[in-house]
């Protein structure tokens, strides 16, 4: 019977995320606003201007090697923070098994931030969802369309000032109103039982 030899290279445990945060602070002192440590989950809050350079550095540096973007999303801090949105990047290194969270602040007026699709291909749909739900534009995104809602939907549903129950029927999505209208028109052709 053939025996397949499996070789697993076990890399040493990764860097403590507090030290990674220190390193980011050292290299980009102007960009880092705050480092938050909540139950050993380290977040680095940064300005949005150099987010691409910082994430590119974290991805490329052989000591950190953040080769996996676990998640990309946004948070709406309406009336809680001066800069309304934060785009959140959860990074993970498959090689070293360490992780860190980067949060980039984005202002309310025409919110936009650099795309990270050139770094992690998987960010493509995450950024589309983020645009769909929060209206944050990702500059340089290869396909900046909505992903979940219909393309002619108005508004961004996960914003805190969006009504949970959605718009009133007369202002509802045109596709849905057309279905209701068509179902009324076709009613006369039903074979009533």
């Amino acid at each position: 019977m053939a025996v397949t030899e499996v070789r697993i290279t076990i890399h040493p445990a990764g860097t403590d995320p507090v030290q990674i945060a220190e390193k980011i602070k050292e290299l980009f002192p102007e960009q880092v606003i705050e480092v938050v440590n909540f139950r050993d989950q380290v977040s680095v809050i940064i300005k949005k201007d150099m987010v691409f350079a910082i994430l590119k550095y974290l991805h490329d540096d052989p000591l950190f090697s953040f080769d996996h973007l676990q998640d990309l999303t946004a948070v709406d801090y309406l009336k809680k923070k001066d800069l309304r949105f934060e785009v959140v990047y959860n990074l993970y290194s498959m090689k070293y098994r360490h992780q860190i969270r980067i949060r980039a602040q984005v202002a309310d007026d025409k919110p936009s931030i650099s795309t990270v699709v050139p770094i992690w291909e998987g960010a493509n749909w995450h950024e589309r969802e983020c645009y769909d739900m929060f209206g944050i534009r990702f500059n340089g995104h290869p396909d900046p369309r909505r992903i979940l809602m219909p393309e002619d939907w108005e508004g961004y549903p996960l914003r805190k000032d969006y009504p949970l129950k959605g718009p009133e029927l007369e202002n509802d999505w045109i596709g849905f109103r057309e279905v209701l209208k068509r179902s009324q028109e076709l009613k006369e052709f039903e074979w009533e039982g």
């Binding site: 999505w173 068509r182 179902s183 009613k187 039903e190 009533e192």
Partner: protein, 172 residues
Amino acid sequence: MIDTSAMGLIQVEEDVKILPPNIIITSFDKIINWGRLSSMWPTTFGLACCAIEMMAAGAAHNDLDRFGIIFRGSPRQADCVIVAGTVTKKMAPVVRRVYDQIPEPRYVIAMGSCACTGGVFRTYSTVQGCDSFLPVDVYVPGCPPRPEALLEGLMMLQEKIRNEKARWSPWR
């Protein structure tokens, strides 16, 4: 009225008389409704977790086939549609299009709380009950309904078909 008592006809139940050994006299309604309710083919429209229960109802343990209920992939050869799951506004035109393709006479079963009323999803994206754009015949509540509940819903629809008067006919 023809007096049939002298012809040797035996009434076995309402509207059914037999002339031994092998002549049966009955009404169109009775025979056609019987045929239709005994081979009711729903088109599959699984939208959410209710679809899993619908599949379970069709699988070996509950076995819809024994009632002549066979899932049909094409709405054009189906008799009814089981709307199994949450109908979003984006999906509503698609559900309606599938329903429009079913030939008359046709029926709709709304399966689960979401299809009946929108359920817990009182939100911007969810249709608050698919009866807003479909004529629903049977509502099956539950989240999701057990296969037995769906079976009861289908039995109710069969009962409805059994009592119909000439709905099968285009020249009523």
